[in-house]
């Protein structure tokens, strides 16, 4: 029996043959102990995802209500200002994506900030788990928390502003892509912030930016603010979603927007993974 082969771990490759007679206990006279297998990327990601999702039952549901009511409140507020047309589409799309920004950016930044400050990262750092599994698993779970809130907001908004409901299927792409971009950003902020309060602050600011720049119609903004708006990954999710409310959507533009979301998502998750490695082995 060697350390490499826990019962049932048949699929795991043994990276180095055990020296004859070496016990699991290690070096002995036969050389260095055999290293136990690493956890593989996808199974570990699944385990982290499942664990994070289970936290929702304990800790996240009240916050999800807050996120949803915030978006509903904003839409009701804007109902008095906005009559319809492009502005109404922007308000509904912006409010829906705001739920994603609240949970994936703000709450994930707080979670990783607190985990790092309290030494909780040591737990993951002393397990043979790929950094990407921890970051992507947590990001995917936080993006998943947003699904009910986004759906409620989008449907309520469409009804409120008399927009067609037929295009809502695009949320199947908008939530994961905007979720990836914002969750990656949130995780990176939380892991890189020197203090947890700063992580919370950055998360809040990011969410405020998503709120102001996503919900308010872009037309009347000064040029500088429009540039900032272009830099924010949530903007592309908002625009992709807003376009699908049009009578004859420009699907090419929708795809382009979603492509930008996806590219930013890959980049921000890669950044978050690097940030995790850095934070775990400080």
């Amino acid at each position: 029996m060697v350390v490499d082969a826990p019962p049932g771990a048949g699929a795991v490759t043994v990276e180095r043959a055990a020296p004859a007679g070496a016990r699991g206990a290690g070096a002995g006279v036969n050389g260095p102990a055999v290293l136990a297998p690493r956890a593989r990327l996808w199974p570990a990601l699944g385990a982290v995802y499942r664990a994070q999702l289970s936290r929702a039952r304990v800790a996240r549901i009240p916050l999800l209500f807050v996120a949803t009511f915030q978006s509903l409140g904003i839409m009701i507020l804007m109902r008095g200002v906005v009559d319809g047309g492009a502005e109404a589409r922007a308000v509904v799309a912006g409010s829906s994506v705001l739920v994603v920004a609240f949970v994936a950016l703000n709450l994930l930044a707080q979670y990783f900030g607190q985990l790092r400050a309290s030494g909780g990262l040591d737990h993951y750092a002393t397990l043979p788990v790929p950094a990407a599994s921890v970051v992507l698993g947590a990001a995917a779970a936080y993006a998943s928390f947003t699904v009910p809130g986004v759906l409620v907001t989008a449907v309520a908004g469409s009804v409120l502003f008399q927009l067609p409901l037929g295009g809502l299927w695009v949320l199947v792409a908008v939530i994961p892509l905007a979720g990836a971009a914002l969750a990656g950003l949130g995780a990176a902020l939380g892991l890189l912030a020197p203090r947890p309060e700063l992580a919370t602050l950055c998360g809040q600011l990011g969410m405020s930016a998503a709120l102001l720049l996503g919900v308010l119609p872009a037309g009347g903004m000064p040029l500088v603010v429009q540039w900032v708006r272009d830099l924010l990954p949530s903007t592309y999710g908002v625009e992709a979603f807003a376009r699908t409310f049009e009578a004859r959507p420009d699907w090419g533009a929708v795809l382009l927007d979603l492509g930008v979301c996806a590219a930013v998502g890959v980049l921000s998750l890669a950044l978050a993974t690097r940030a995790y490695r850095w934070a775990a082995t400080r």
């Binding site: 180095r16 290690g26 050389g31 260095p32 136990a36 985990l115 309290s118 030494g119 788990v129």
Partner: protein, 357 residues
Amino acid sequence: MDSVETPNRAESRAVSAVSVEGLVKTYPPVRARRGTPAAPAVRASDRIGLDVRQGEIFGLLGPNGAGKSTLVRQLTGLLRPDEGSVQVLGHDLVRHPERASRLLAYLGQESSALDELTVGLAAETTARLRGLETAAARAARDEVLAELGLEPLAGRPLKKLSGGQRRLACVASALVGERPLLVLDEPTTGMDPHARRAVWAAIDRRRAEQGATVLLVTHNVIEAETVLDRVAVLDRGRVIACGTPGGLKAKVGDEVRLELVWRERAPVEIPEVAALGVTARASGRRWTLRLSPQEAREAVALVTGGPAFAALDDFRLATPSLEDVYVALGGRPEGTNGEPGEHGEPGGDGVEGLVKA
């Protein structure tokens, strides 16, 4: 997979489980900022050398701030030493800190990564992240929960448990999935005696059945004396003594320790008591004396008979403990930073006094 996994000749001669040489770690000074005063550089590990043999339960003993956790973080690849070498089961962890997670299980002092999970899911997830397949992870979870008597709590989130129960759940996560080296930072903090026994039994089983080596951080002297094969005493980043508990105790000679607890104050108007008081270390109503066996017998006779007895609340006579070793070696005694000492628990080799009604 990188090529460095192949063992090299120099490494392969290692016979110890953990071998540390000339380990130095200095935390840089902290400049004063608003709200936080400046702190000078702290040498948390000061040329530490250690050798832990395979299958041994080895303890690191010392007060808060002695450098125990810093040392352990360097042994688990979490912290890079400034100088020195760390060999774990023949692997150089200074060059390859990422190998630590595949050699050892670590129980840190923090549970924040697991707090919101249920006890069962915490163990299962940890097993999965230790590389086990789903079915194996579930089997390992069930086994360790049964072993530690955690089955009734399996569905409860760690956050909702008492401190000792939460600690026990963390121990379960640390022990799930086989590892040849267990590094446990104060594993039994806050646990009741029943849970402590379960933890020690589980650790002992891993040693007996899997040949596991255990490196244990503690500042509980009583625990250290009863479970450790060998112990290193740390103070201010240095190893000030290393050996078996018995061997270390022999260093302080045959002096015994007499503790007297007075009801209100010591009856120093009795000349013999006043004479004892000259050599006593007084702490409130409690006097601690180190005496030869003959002197101790006379002192006990004095305080348990005659007028002094009326003023006496409790007494205890004990052979030297690791704490005495600790004090004799120049370390700061336990309890001097306002911590409760180790006196509250029944000791292994003490002669308990009669607690008078």
